[in-house]
Homo-oligomer: 352 residues x 2
DNA sequence: ACCGAAATAGTGAACGTTCACTATTACTCG
DNA sequence: CGAGTAATAGTGAACGTTCACTATTTCGGT
């Protein structure tokens, strides 16, 4: 998180006018009509001055005078249904409670493009803080625009300080322990894009837990959060891999895994146990219904926003501490094929 | 859509000061410290004047002076995964392209509470337009605050002018025609909450199409968009209902329907065909994979926003005309039990 | 070369607040 | 009771633009 630097005042229209040797009104006209109605020479002098001073108009002042805000509102139903939407919901309401208004931008393009867009926004002076729920490139951390807004991020690259809660993959450990208690010995993990710290967190816990409990891993398939990744992972599994449980990094991936298992004639959970992550509502009514991890994304978004607000105000954040992840056991996970006698899911003795 | 009324100027701090017989600075203090540091008598005079004039501070002017915007930004990944999120995505980018900034608010509470919140927002002068993607009560239509922003809505009650595109349930007709072509004669519809025009549109088309093609309907179950509604609908179906196809108003409902069918030992699609709506990514990899309707929600949101911008600017909107709904045939729909000889899905001869 | 209109540029005020002062009033204490 | 100080209230400027004017320049036509 970058501490706002010297609040270096931005140049005003007046300074541009002086630099260009014209009146402020001429600069104003240049900005309004994009140069129409100015003599070529004048236009160029103004353009040069603007470039020289790195001038950008103060939109608040403009709004004040024009009485136009250039702002629209979108009213949404409460977003319980999808991940980013649920985080958004929590974050937005936390911001409102603190008296802030939020601008939502959805950023596409690659990480580099997103990073640039973020830079622009931070530099524009239009916002006091930025909460990024989308990964940005590590370079963004350094050299943030001087008087710039603060950046906090929910699911970030390690080099920048991500808030890390989403990255908490420890629940994967609990799942594996429980599955081991049901006789599973050999696992497969289908991860999400490793650009996301959440994907990395789950992967890391998977690897650690397998090692800690002395279990075996057939390997890790690096996916991209799509069902196809899950499907492919199963399709390319040798018949004699010995894998009896697949830990998928999301429900959508898990759906692909289930699909793949069907294709190969493997029954779930009799032949293969599958677990997902996210508690997608459709998953609860799949056949078989999907064992998954329910994440309190609203709380996550809320806490992320509280962190941001705290940084903007330079105080300590008051976070709500409450478990974020909860395993939801459903039909898709059960005893391992050869250990069918064991009971239902439950904790396992640690070897530690 | 309400046309902005006379731009009745809001009272300023100066007028409040005159009314209360104090200086403008005293009013400013009152606003800043919520009355701290004022003599009781003074405080009350100011409070009375504010009440009398229905004064509210001009936040733009305040921002201008304090150099604090009270605005934060949230950066999101492009939201392809969930309904409201996808519409939001389209709407936000359309607004950005038009040079507007959007404030997102998620409104909970009942329709009445949402309506009041909308009123406040419209009256605050903070935004130039409001796009509501959540239903508001019909009363909201009338008596919008005078200088208020425009309201457009995507999924609205009939009494207010909803944009109606989401309400287009005509694709249900195509689905039924195709199913009839595969030998289905008796249908069941599980609707969404009829508060939503989308739910009403699908229901209306269902009823009309059944009548038009001379088919039979076992009835309509009014659901609430949850899987449980679908589950219950199937559970309470008599063994001899004769229903061979269920049209669910959403994929989530359809998942419940599938679940119910499993419980009763009915195979899908051999015994029962099921169709959903939304093209939920998990549905594509269900077993059986779900026949559904893919809706271009990004386009929908984009067009809704273009309408709003057009109204704000008092010009004609330039909408992108392109089919919104597309049927995705998958495993969950197939020939009716007694007509197993017929081919795959396809159009049916109309009786009309 | 001159007139008049069009094109271009400049001046000062205004938008509605808060900031940084100064002025007044009320209170405390010797 | 008066001086000193704290509490309360008032004054004018400033924030950075655009608006509504006025002033100057340019240029075509006679």
């Amino acid at each position: 998180m970058a501490v706002p630097g010297t609040p270096r005042r931005r140049p005003t229209i007046m300074e541009v006018a002086r630099e260009a040797g014209v009146s402020h009104q001429t600069v104003s006209r240049y900005l309004r009509n994009n140069g129409e109605g100015l003599k070529d020479a004048t236009r160029e002098r103004v353009a040069a001055a603007i470039r020289e001073l790195d001038y950008r108009p103060n939109l608040v002042a403009r709004s004040m005078r024009t009485r136009r805000t250039g702002r629209l509102a979108i009213l949404l139903p409460v977003l319980h249904s999808w991940n980013a939407a649920r985080m958004l919901d929590g974050a937005v309401s936390a911001a409102h409670e603190e008296g802030f208004v939020v601008e939502v931008m959805s950023l596409d393009g690659d990480a580099r493009a997103r990073g640039e867009r973020m830079f622009e926004l931070a530099d524009s002076g239009q916002v006091e803080g930025i909460l990024s729920l989308t990964p940005l490139p590590p370079e963004s951390a350094s050299g943030l625009p001087a008087g710039a807004a603060v950046v906090v991020s929910a699911d970030y690259d390690d080099k920048m300080r991500g808030i890390g809660e989403l990255a908490d993959g420890s629940t994967v450990g609990e799942i594996i322990e429980a599955l081991a208690g049901m006789g599973h010995r050999r696992f497969l993990h289908v991860s999400g894009q490793l650009q996301f710290s959440s994907a990395r967190g789950r992967l890391r816990t998977y690897v650690d837990t397998i090692a800690r409990l002395g279990l075996e891993s057939h390997g890790v398939v690096e996916g991209d959060w799509t069902p196809e990744a899950g499907l492919e992972a199963i399709r390319s599994l040798p018949e004699d891999s010995g894998v009896t449980a697949v830990i998928a990094a999301s429900d959508v991936i898990a759906a692909g895994v289930c699909r793949g298992a069907m294709e190969r004639g493997w029954r779930i959970p009799e032949d293969l146990s599958v677990t997902g992550w996210d508690d997608n509502p459709v998953g609860a009514h799949l056949h078989p219904s999907l064992t998954t991890v329910s994440v309190d994304l609203g709380l996550l978004g809320r806490n992320a926003m509280k962190r941001l607000v705290a940084v903007v105000r330079d105080v300590e954040p008051e976070l709500v501490e409450r478990p974020l992840n909860r395993i939801v056991w459903r039909e898709s996970a059960g005893p391992a094929p050869r250990a069918r006698t064991a009971g239902g899911p439950g904790p396992v003795r640690r070897r530690a």
